[in-house]
Amino acid sequence: MSPILILALLPLVGALLVAALPNENVVRIKQAALASTLLTAFFGIYITTQFVAADTAMQFVQKNKWIPSFAINFSLGVDGLALVLILMSVVLTPLVILAGWNESEGGRWSVKVFYILILVLETMIIGVFAATDLFLFYVLFEAILIPVYFLIGGYGTGERAAAAVKFLMYGLFGGLLMLAAVIGVYVISSGAGHASFDITELSGLHAVMSSTTQDFLFLGFFIAFAIKAPLWPLHTWLPDAAKAGSPGTSILLLGVLDKIGTFGMIRFCITIFPDASKTFTPMIIVFSVTSIIYGAFLAIRARDLKRLIAYTSISHFGFITLGIFSMTSQGQSGATFYMFNHGFSTAALLMVGGWMIARRGSSTIADFGGLQRVTPVMAWMFFIAGMSSLALPGLASFVSEFLVLVGTYTRYPVAALIATLGIVLAALYILIPVQKALHGPTTPGNEDLPDLNLREKIAIAPVVAVIVAFGFYPSPLLNIINPASAHVIESAGFSDPAPTENAGK
């Protein structure tokens, strides 16, 4: 049994364990959930240390026949790209549980159901990143909507049912478009004499596809991923879902699940349809840049803390997509590293934001003020998270944003220049809430807010540590990411343009 399969099954075993516990014993349920996710996290870190970075083939491969009559296999495996995202997911999940220790209470259903949903979700997340069979990926891509739907609808706040439905409908619509494209890929591969869903074999399929077919199938995949990521103009579900979800759900949604979209663009869009990717790149670059700027403006205008964080994510996903479709190895590496960092900085923002909201009982930014004096530790944490979001040099997100912009500039200088504007706007959308919420006179009603307790400090510490550590010393991760990115670019038939002084003139 491959270590990746074991990793994916660990949370599921945890879910069974939680299910077996009695309903009343709330603390024991939480402990069991935390223990199984912690175990998963440590095992994930162990797997990362066993990964051979220089090898661009899939590693820890698990391959079993599943539905042979359709050439469907149950096959898992990771390359640098998948590994980094899995690592991010498994590290974040226990922190999410720890940070939102009490958010499972007061939901529509019992505490137990909440943790079962979270643990099942973690299994699916690992599976979706590790799937090397297109059909398996599709199955998990769709199925993952269900636990999130119940998490938002059952444990969220405000207009949670409507937000959950909107989330699910967008997701299903994208997924079903992708289903048509998946069927198309299958039919073409079987028409070419060898039916297959294996992504390594499918990467050679573009040779037998007409460019029109390739374009349509590419769009089927891309629209699904652009909804998931989300890219302007398909983003409208995200702020609602993020606002309605509990902080923990929103971390998993924004930090982890949305990465499936950008991951899919690299893994499927570029790898299977290199020619169509080339055709659509200019359009996608325009959408990405629009997302960066538009998301930033929405964030500046936002009055609600959770919506603000959702809008910043839209802007950040613009950067990630820009890096991916710059079709340079630097841009790709930057995008992958960006996905990792975005996971952690969003988690930090939402964790602190969640605590602030829980203490104050309101998510309106104007209700906060003077937190720096009342709750200094919480305020500092919010500040660091904000700085990470605006990519302050010295923090990990700076490295990735820089790589994306450099990688883009060598091929699309204009896009890179406009995207740089996004950094300026980021300073605005972060500093405005920092100033409003942390500084200035203490808003009446805030005087007695308690500062972070020990549990919360323990939850946020690893996140901040990751943000700072990889800011100063990113090479352990980049060493894993770079060969994978170079491999994607190379096997799709692109090459890095040599940087010249004249570029952009």
């Binding site: 026949k65 539905i67 042979p68 009559s69 199955v139 609808g153 949670r160 409908m169 289903l179 198309g184």
Partner: protein, 505 residues
């Protein structure tokens, strides 16, 4: 002129003959057995009949490549599989039928009359429904193996006449039930007339009533094409009426709503299998070489059916009507397997028919449980908050709905996937595209129900869930299990179908 006595292969015809014998015994029980033990006796006879017939079917399936009864029926792999599906669906439907005090005591009494009240007070139970169902089952068993037009028509009437009656047997809402029966009867008679008219034209075209003869005439191409076209279209109307394809669907919602729910379950599942079986044989065997005449129209009908069914399902406020429109949409999805006109299309259709039939019986079985003092509650608004009071029943219903929506890890998804890919493989790209779009629309109507059950609070006059009897529990558990298991491990069944399903031409 000498008279040749027809040779009947009793061994091959055994399953049908056994079911007919069981039905006759049922009639005798009605006449001679004391009314107190009648329900038990009827149930026993019905179930024993189905089980023995199934055993016979298993026995003859080895010799299943023969024509019987002077070529009037053909035993081949596809026929046996369809007959097996019908018997399994009939068995679980009997569990539902047995459970109901849902049938009126005096079907012939005027609704609301003194006679009706008296018969209710006398606690008379309608047990005629058992032999009636068995007669219908016998017709259904004959329908997909009939290989000449007369036998096909006889089978059509044999399965329809009992169903017309059974639709009118509901204990509650007598008027609606009688209306349903009348409507079904009148429209059914109308469609039978179309069918006969079409058969006459096909006879005129080929001077043969057998499928083999028609096929030979089509291949020879010597006949009058106008007769062929008229024949195909009129006979198709008759058959498409039975599977409730657009625009011949208008009876479906009223009949599904008015009929007793157990009968609706049986009708929706088993009739569809039988009628699609007949359609498959007619188009795959007799008219395969005339594909240019019927295929384009069939594609239009399939797309119109799936889109129409999905769209109208969204507007439904009644559980049974919603399921009726969903069944119309599924008729469209199922037609894609007919359009494929290939071995993979045949395999896909048989698998899809079986799993859809099973899931349909399961979904209607749950509808029978949701009640108030005046019988079943099908008004969806009164289902709100059901998830709170009866989490297991509501979750199971939600699961069936997600299966209908085509969410992966359910059997219906595998069916849909294989049907769409077979249509795509035969060059009908429009089918999978329209199919996924229709699925997205249909998903909305299913999700609306899930929202109602789980995310809304119970209303004042809300429905409650009765504790299911052992038989209904068995039905629900078995259908649910099949839907999950065939969604995750469909391989044995798919392989079995692939190796067995073929048409003897």
């Amino acid at each position: 002129m000498t008279f040749t006595a027809p040779v009947l292969e009793y061994a091959l015809l055994a399953p049908i003959l056994i079911v007919l014998a069981g039905a006759l015994i049922g009639v005798l029980i009605e006449a001679f057995v004391a009314s107190a033990i009648r329900p038990t006796a009827q149930l026993f006879v019905a179930i024993a009949t189905i089980v023995i017939a199934f055993a016979q079917l298993v026995r003859v399936h080895g010799k299943s490549s023969a024509t019987a009864a002077m070529g009037a029926v053909t035993f081949d792999g596809a026929g046996v599989l369809l007959q097996g599906s019908i018997l399994i669906i009939a068995l679980i439907s009997f569990f539902l039928i047995a459970d109901q005090d849902n049938f009126t005591a005096a079907a012939a009494a005027v609704p609301g009359s003194q006679e009706e009240r008296e018969s209710h007070q006398a606690r008379i139970r309608t047990t005629e429904v058992f032999p009636l169902t068995l007669f219908a089952v016998a017709g259904m068993l004959l329908f997909p193996i009939a290989s000449d037009l007369i036998t096909l028509f006889v089978a059509l009437e044999m399965l329809s006449l009992p169903l017309y009656l059974m639709a009118g047997l509901s204990r509650y809402r007598r008027l609606a039930s009688q209306e349903a029966a009348l409507k079904y009867f009148l429209l059914g008679a109308f469609s039978s007339a179309f069918f006969l008219f079409g058969a006459a034209f096909l006879y005129g075209y080929s001077s043969s009533l057998t499928f083999a003869g028609i096929q030979a005439a089509v291949t020879g191409g010597a006949g009058n094409d106008v007769f062929l076209l008229l024949g195909i279209s009129l006979i198709s109307i008759g058959l498409l009426f039975k599977v409730s394809a657009f625009p011949f669907h208008s009876w479906t919602p009223d009949v599904y709503q008015g009929a007793p729910t157990a009968i609706t379950a049986f009708m929706a599942a088993a009739t569809k299998v039988a009628a699609f079986g007949a359609i498959l044989r007619l188009f795959y065997v007799a008219l395969a070489n005339a594909e240019w005449q019927w295929r384009p129209v069939m594609i239009v009908i399939a797309i119109a059916t799936m889109v129409f069914g999905s769209l109208v399902a969204v507007a439904q406020r009644d559980a049974k009507r919603m399921l009726a429109y969903s069944s119309i949409a599924h008729a469209g999805f199922l037609l894609s397997g007919v359009i494929a006109l290939s071995k993979s299309g045949l395999d896909a259709s048989i698998f899809y028919l079986f799993v859809y039939g099973i899931a349909t019986v399961g979904a209607f079985a749950i509808v029978t449980l949701v009640r108030d003092s005046a019988g079943e509650v099908t008004d969806l608004n009164r289902w709100s908050g059901l998830g709170k009071r009866s989490p297991i029943v509501a979750s199971t219903f939600a699961f069936f709905l997600l299966a209908f929506a085509g969410i992966p890890m359910t059997s219906v998804f595998i069916g849909k996937f294989s049907a769409f890919s077979s249509a795509y493989q035969s060059g009908s790209v429009a089918i999978p595209i329209a199919g996924v779009l229709a699925s997205a629309i249909a998903a909305f109507s299913y999700i609306r129900v899930i929202v109602l059950m789980f995310f809304k609070d119970p209303v004042e006059d809300g429905a409650s869930v009765v504790i299911p009897s052992a038989l209904t529990t068995t039905t629900i558990a078995a259908t649910g299990a099949v839907t999950v298991i065939l969604g995750i491990f469909p391989t044995p069944v798919i392989n079995f179908i692939a190796s067995t399903a073929y048409f003897l031409r």
